[in-house]
Amino acid sequence: MVASALVLAACSAPGSNNDAEEPEESAPATEDASALDCGTEPVTLKAYIETGFPLATELFDEFEAQYPNVTFDVREDQFAVLTQNAPRVLVDDPPDLMRLPQMSELASDGLLLDLDEYAAAFGWDTWPASQLEQMRVDDEGRRGNGPLYAMGLNFSMTGVFYNKELAAQIGMEEPPATLAEFDSYLQAAKDAGLVPMAQFNGGATGGLAFPLQGLMASYGDAGEINDWIYQQPDATIVTDTNVQATEHLQSWIEAGYFADDINSMDYAMMMSRFIEGNSVFIFNGDWESGNLDAQMPGNVGFFLMPPVEEGGSFGAMSAPLTYGISANAANPACAAFFLDWIATNDEARTIAVEIGGSHPMGPADAFMPAVAEGSVTAETLAAGAAIGAQDGAMDFIANATGSVYAEGWTPNLQKLVAGEIDPTALLEAVQAEYESSVG
C-alpha cells in the first residue's frame, strides 16, 4: 500500500518548484526605491519578533510616535518557534523586519536582503567593524566576511553576575583580578556552605558553554575562537589553550563549585535561584541587567571572566540582537531606515539601554543615556567598553553551526558534569560534530 502510494507523491525533487530561488530584486510599487526613509505615505511594516522581550515593541511604539505615517503589524513567537519557521516565513509571508536565529544558512540560501547598499548610504560602515562582523555572511555561508545581512537592535555582553550581599559574606569586596583569585572566592563560598554557582545545563541546554568560553578567552586568543565560529578554513576548537580552559572548568565541577543538579537545571531555575539568593555567582548576559536591577536593586554586581594573570588577555561573548529584512520584503527601505534610527536616535538609544539593558549599536562616540550609579546595567555597559578596548568580543561558540549547540556542546558538557568524558575528548567530539556540518 505504501509503495503504491509513492505514486501519489509529487515526483519532482522537493523544493525545485519554489519561488525562493528568484527573490524579487525590484522594490514593489508602494515604495520609491531610491528613498532612504519611510516617506510620508502611510506604510505598514510587517514585523516578526520574539515574544517575552519588550525591547522591540517599545522601539516600535516610539518610532510610530515620531513617524505617524508608519504602523507596525507585529507577530510574536517563542524563539524556538521562530527558529523552526524562519525559512518558511521569509519566503511565504515575507516580513519587513524579523528577529533572526542563526543566520548563515538563511543568508546563503538567498532568503535575506543584502544590506550593503543601505550600510553605505547610512554610514554604518564607519562604525566599529566588530559590531557588524557577526552579521556578514559570504556566499558559502561563512560568517565574519561578505555582505551584511542583518542589523542589531543592540549588542549583548556576557560575564559573571554576583550577589553583593553573599560576596561580602565570603570576603569578596572587589571583583577578582585573576582566575586564581576567582577560584579562591569559589572555594570560600563552598566553605561557607553556600552554592557558589548555579548554572543551567539540563535538558537541551548546555549553559556551561558560558563559563567555558570565558575561560577559553582567558587562556587563549578571542580572535582564534571567532575564526572557529566563523568557520574559517582549518579552524579547530581542539587547541592547547582550549584544553586548558576545559580542564579549568572540569576542576570547578570536581571541586563541587556548581550546584549538584545543574544537569537538570533550566535557565528559569537558574534565574530564580540567583534572585532568591541561592547562588553567589552565575554566568549570564546583560539582557538580564534590567530585570536584575528591578528584582535585586543595588545587590547585583558584574565582572568579566578574569585573565589568568593580572593584566592578561580576557574576552566576552558579545552578539548583536539580530534583525533582518526578508529578500521579498515589501518595504525594505523603510525597514532599513528604522534600523538606522535605532542606532542613531537619542530616544531609541535610551530605550535600547533602559529596556534592553545592553549597549546600543552605532558610532563609538554616539549619545549614551545616563544610567543609575551602582546599578548592574551601569557595570555591564562599562564592561562593554573594556571589551571593546581589548578587542575581546566573541560570538557564541554555540552559534558556530546550526546544530553544534544541540548535538555538540550540550550533550558533551552534560557528560563532563557527569564525569563521563575528559576535556580533550569533549573538544574532539564537538569538533567532529562541527566538521560534519561544515563539511
Binding site: G15, A80, D109, G202, S264
Partner: protein, 321 residues
C-alpha cells in the same frame, strides 16, 4: 490506535459474504452487487480521499524526501541511501533507537504485568465500591494530557521535589539526586512516567476482557480444586490473550514513537541519554533543517515499529482460531 486495532479485529468476523445462492438467481445478484458496489464506493470515497491525502500522501512524501538532502525551502540534492547510512553511522540516531527499545520495558512490560495483577485483584472484589474507586484512580493518568504529566513528574523528580523529600524523610537522603539530570537514572525515571500513564489503559482493557470470561469456567476449576494461582494461569491468562496482544501493541508503539513525555521532562538530556527517535526527528527537521535526514529516520522508525508490532498481531490471530 487501540480503537483502530480492536475495530479491525471485530470487523473481520462480520464481513464473510453469504454463499450458496441458486444458479438461476446468480446473474440478478451479481447485478445488484455491482450496483451496491458502486454505491459503496461512492460512500467510501470521501473517507478514502481524506485517507489518501492526509495519510498515504504524506507517508509517500516522507519516503521520497528521505532520499534527498533538503533544508525544506530551497533546492534539494539527491543523495540516495546516504541518509539511511547516516542513521547507523551517527551515534545520536542509532543511540536514540536503542533508547527507544529500552523504553519498551517501562512503557510496555511494566504496565502490562502490573495491569494484569491489578485487574485480577480488582476482579476479586468486582461488585464493591472499592473496585470502582480503584479503577477510577488507576485510569486517571490516562485522561491527563501527557504534557501535564511530564511537567508534574519533572517537579516530583526535581532535586528538591517530592521524591527526594520522601527519601530524606525515611532516611534515604543518600540516594536522593536530580533524577532527570543523572546519567544512570534519567531513562528509567522517564520510563516510569510512561508506565504510570499506560497502566490505566492496560488495566481497563484487561479488566474488560476478564468480564467476558464465562464464570462457569472458574466454578468448574474450583470444583476441581484449583487455587487462585491455578485459576489465573489456567483460565484468566489464556482467555486474555487478545487483550494482552492489544495492550502490548499499543504500548510498544507508544514506547518506540515516544515524544511528548521526553520533550517535556528531559528534552533528550543529559548527554543524549534519553534521546528517542521522535525527538531526534523533530530536532533534525525543525532545528537543523535537515528534512531529508529527518524523513529517513522517520521511515526507519515506521519500519521498526511494523517489524516489532506485526509479529504481535500474528500472536493475536492465532488466539482467534
Amino acid at each position: 490506535m487501540n480503537q483502530r486495532l480492536t475495530g479491525r479485529a471485530s470487523a473481520r468476523r462480520e464481513d464473510t459474504p453469504a454463499l450458496g445462492s441458486p444458479e438461476s438467481r446468480r446473474r440478478a445478484i451479481k447485478a445488484r452487487r455491482l450496483r451496491r458496489g458502486g454505491l459503496a464506493l461512492l460512500l467510501v470515497a470521501p473517507a478514502a480521499l481524506a485517507y489518501i491525502v492526509f495519510v498515504l500522501r504524506p507517508m509517500a512524501q516522507s519516503i521520497q524526501f528521505s532520499f534527498y538532502e533538503w533544508n525544506g525551502v530551497t533546492e534539494s540534492t539527491w543523495v540516495g541511501l546516504d541518509n539511511y547510512a547516516a542513521i547507523l553511522r551517527e551515534p545520536e540516531m542509532s543511540g536514540s533507537i536503542l533508547n527507544a527499545f529500552q523504553l519498551i520495558i517501562y512503557f510496555s512490560f511494566i504496565p502490562v504485568l502490573l495491569g494484569l495483577f491489578t485487574a485480577n485483584t480488582i476482579r476479586g472484589f468486582a461488585t464493591s465500591r472499592l473496585a470502582i474507586v480503584s479503577r477510577t484512580v488507576l485510569f486517571l493518568p490516562q485522561i491527563i494530557p501527557l504534557v501535564a504529566a511530564g511537567i508534574m513528574w519533572s517537579w516530583l523528580y526535581a532535586s528538591n521535589g517530592m521524591v527526594n523529600q520522601v527519601l530524606e524523610a525515611i532516611g534515604l537522603g543518600g540516594v536522593a539526586r536530580a533524577w532527570l539530570g543523572d546519567f544512570d537514572t534519567a531513562l528509567p525515571a522517564v520510563g516510569l512516567i510512561g508506565a504510570w500513564v499506560a497502566l490505566g489503559l492496560c488495566m481497563l482493557l484487561l479488566l474488560a476482557g476478564m468480564t467476558k470470561i464465562d464464570p462457569a469456567l472458574y466454578e468448574a476449576a474450583r470444583i476441581d480444586g484449583a487455587g487462585p494461582w491455578r485459576e489465573f494461569f489456567a483460565i484468566t491468562l489464556p482467555s486474555l490473550r487478545q487483550e494482552i496482544a492489544v495492550c502490548v501493541t499499543v504500548t510498544v508503539i507508544a514506547a518506540l514513537a515516544s515524544f511528548d513525555i521526553i520533550y517535556i521532562s528531559t528534552q533528550g538530556g543529559p548527554g543524549n541519554r534519553t534521546l528517542v527517535p521522535g525527538l531526534e526527528i523533530y530536532r533534525l527537521a525543525f532545528f537543523n533543517r535537515e528534512i531529508g535526514q529527518a524523513s529517513a529516520l522517520a521511515v526507519a522508525l515506521m519500519a521498526l515499529v511494523l517489524l516489532v508490532v506485526l509479529p504481535l498481531q500474528r500472536l493475536n490471530r492465532e488466539g482467534d482460531s
